[in-house]
Amino acid sequence: MDINPMTILIASIFTNNMILANFLGMCSFIAVSKEIKTSLGLGQAVTFVLTGTSVINYLIYTYLLEPFGLEYLRFIVFIITIAAFVQLVEMIIERYVPTLYYSLGIFLPLITVNCAILGVSLFMVIREYTLLQSLAFGIGSGLGWTLAIVALAAIRQKIKNAPIPKGLQGAGVTLIITGLMALAFIGLSGVVTIQ
């Protein structure tokens, strides 16, 4: 696999966006996208966790699991490292950025079970990325996730006073918007390939 890491970075933001192309990480995407500021904070936290875990998981996979033939352990190992890493991030945010800590609330520890993060670690293994490619993929996916959630939050803020039918308010209209955004992003597909 000889793809330029920069290509992977760009691709994972736009053409292979975790949310809009793979539909991973939907729960916090829908729940924390009411305000641009909070969603930007969560996006940053997710990006940080993605970058960190993709590198750590890459190292563990390549230097521990593969040599011993324990690839089948990757699911549980990846989840353990992600959980520990999120715990660390939570501690740091709680200590140094308390306002963000309070506005993220329960969704900060829930990054642990954000599918996008496990997804990135698993994709990078399946696609046989190198360390640099994995790092680029992690950062790119994080930025892509942030882009998507901030864009969604911006749209939701705009339509806050729109006369939405009762049955569609909240999650309903959010899913429709997400679908439209995904359609828009399909326009970019095919520009670069990364697998």
Binding site: L64, L65, L70, L73, V77, L88, M91, I92, P98, Y102
Partner: protein, 369 residues
């Protein structure tokens, strides 16, 4: 075989490394230093930052009631946090009413001490202590209700108002993995400062009641703390008293009655005690005996499910029916009522009493859930 071993080794290695990392991070990053908590604008405590308010106060021997031991699942440890609490956390929301939220009431087991704080707790909580005791007496009152006597063995004395409760600790036992506290009214008079009586019913799947009924026996050591609660005898009044209880609701009223008897408090007392069948009644002789000793007191047991052939010539029906039957309509004299038992019994009795002309602020109750 080697695969299994390497698997175990690698998983253990990874988790241990991560656990050590987190422990270190916890020690360095989550170190908030020493913080000051001012309670009721009066007392100051220096506590270790980063802990929950509840935990920090326990370190200073102040016990806020908490049945779950600080896991945020009972909602008892509420207190007013005036300064330094930060916004309400998601884990608190389900336990705080809108009124609580407006009045800065918080769950002290969830709010961490990250800066200097000002909080308010009821003054009585300063009297709450933790006691060590030994079960000196344990007897089945009925099939499902036990009478315990706990002697305090650590040299302390307990001061409480008749009607208040303590929290008994159940240590881990087979079937229950962690320590848990539950509240029980003291059934003995406050004049006994070196021991308490408890009347504990068996609740299905109840953690502490199962412990008491199946694992605790005479001679065992126990830990409890207290006293708590705002259900106690109003000593500023000399009005008539109506007491209504079912089941273990006997406990706080027994404490009140013995206290009144010992101190020759001269008030007219009527005590209606409800049960289902004759074998569910207990302490009847003791309660009857007080009739001879006390000023103007009558004990009226009532059974709701008398069957033919039962040896019973007393009242039948529900305690609520007795209120209807015996209370003079629109009583001119001022009355107080002390109700103790299940929530439905208390709600219907309170309604019946208010219909009879009692003021609802004179109806005191302790709901056992």
């Amino acid at each position: 075989m080697t695969t299994i071993l390497t698997t175990i080794l690698i998983i253990t290695g990874i988790t241990t490394t991560l656990a050590i990392l987190i422990t270190f991070a916890n020690a360095f990053i989550a170190d908030y230093g020493e913080k000051k908590i001012v309670i009721n604008n009066d007392k100051e405590f220096i506590v270790e930052g980063g802990k929950s308010i509840l935990g920090a106060l326990v370190d200073n021997k102040i016990f806020i009631p908490s049945a779950c031991g600080g896991k945020g699942s009972c909602g008892y440890c509420k207190a007013k946090v005036i300064e330094g609490g930060g916004p309400i956390l998601a884990t608190e929301l389900s336990y705080l009413t809108e009124e609580d939220q407006e009045n800065d009431i918080r769950l002290t087991c969830q709010v961490k001490v990250k800066e200097d704080m000002k909080i308010e707790i009821p003054d009585e909580l300063f009297n709450v202590k933790q006691f060590q005791g030994k079960v000196v007496f344990s007897k089945d009152l009925t099939e499902k209700i036990k009478h315990l006597r706990i002697k305090i063995t650590d040299g302390q004395e307990i001061e409480f108002k008749p009607g208040q409760y303590v929290q008994l600790l159940a240590p881990p036992y087979p079937g229950n993995a962690e320590e848990v506290f539950r509240a029980y009214s003291v059934a003995s008079s406050p004049s006994q400062k070196d021991q308490i009586d408890l009347i504990i019913g068996l609740v299905e799947e109840g953690l502490v009641t199962t412990y008491v009924h199946e694992h605790l026996s005479e001679g065992d050591e126990v830990i409890f703390n207290g006293p708590f609660g705002d259900f106690y005898l109003n000593e500023d009044s000399d009005s008539d008293m109506y007491m209504v209880a079912i089941g273990t609701g006997m406990a706080p009223l027994r404490s009140i009655l013995h206290y009144m008897n010992e101190n020759n408090i001269e008030r007219r007392v009527r005590y209606y005690f409800g049960a289902r069948k004759p074998e569910d009644l207990f302490m009847v002789e003791e309660m009857k005996k007080l009739e001879e000793e006390m000023y103007d007191y009558e004990f009226i047991p009532v059974l709701s499910r008398v069957e033919e052939g039962d040896d019973w010539d007393g009242e039948t029906g529900r305690v609520t029916d007795l209120v209807d039957k015996y209370l003079e309509a629109k009583a001119e004299r001022e009355c107080e009522a002390y109700l103790c038992g299940s929530a439905p019994m208390i709600d219907s009795t309170e309604k019946a009493l208010v219909e009879k002309g009692l003021k609802d602020d004179k109806v005191f109750y302790d709901k056992f859930d």
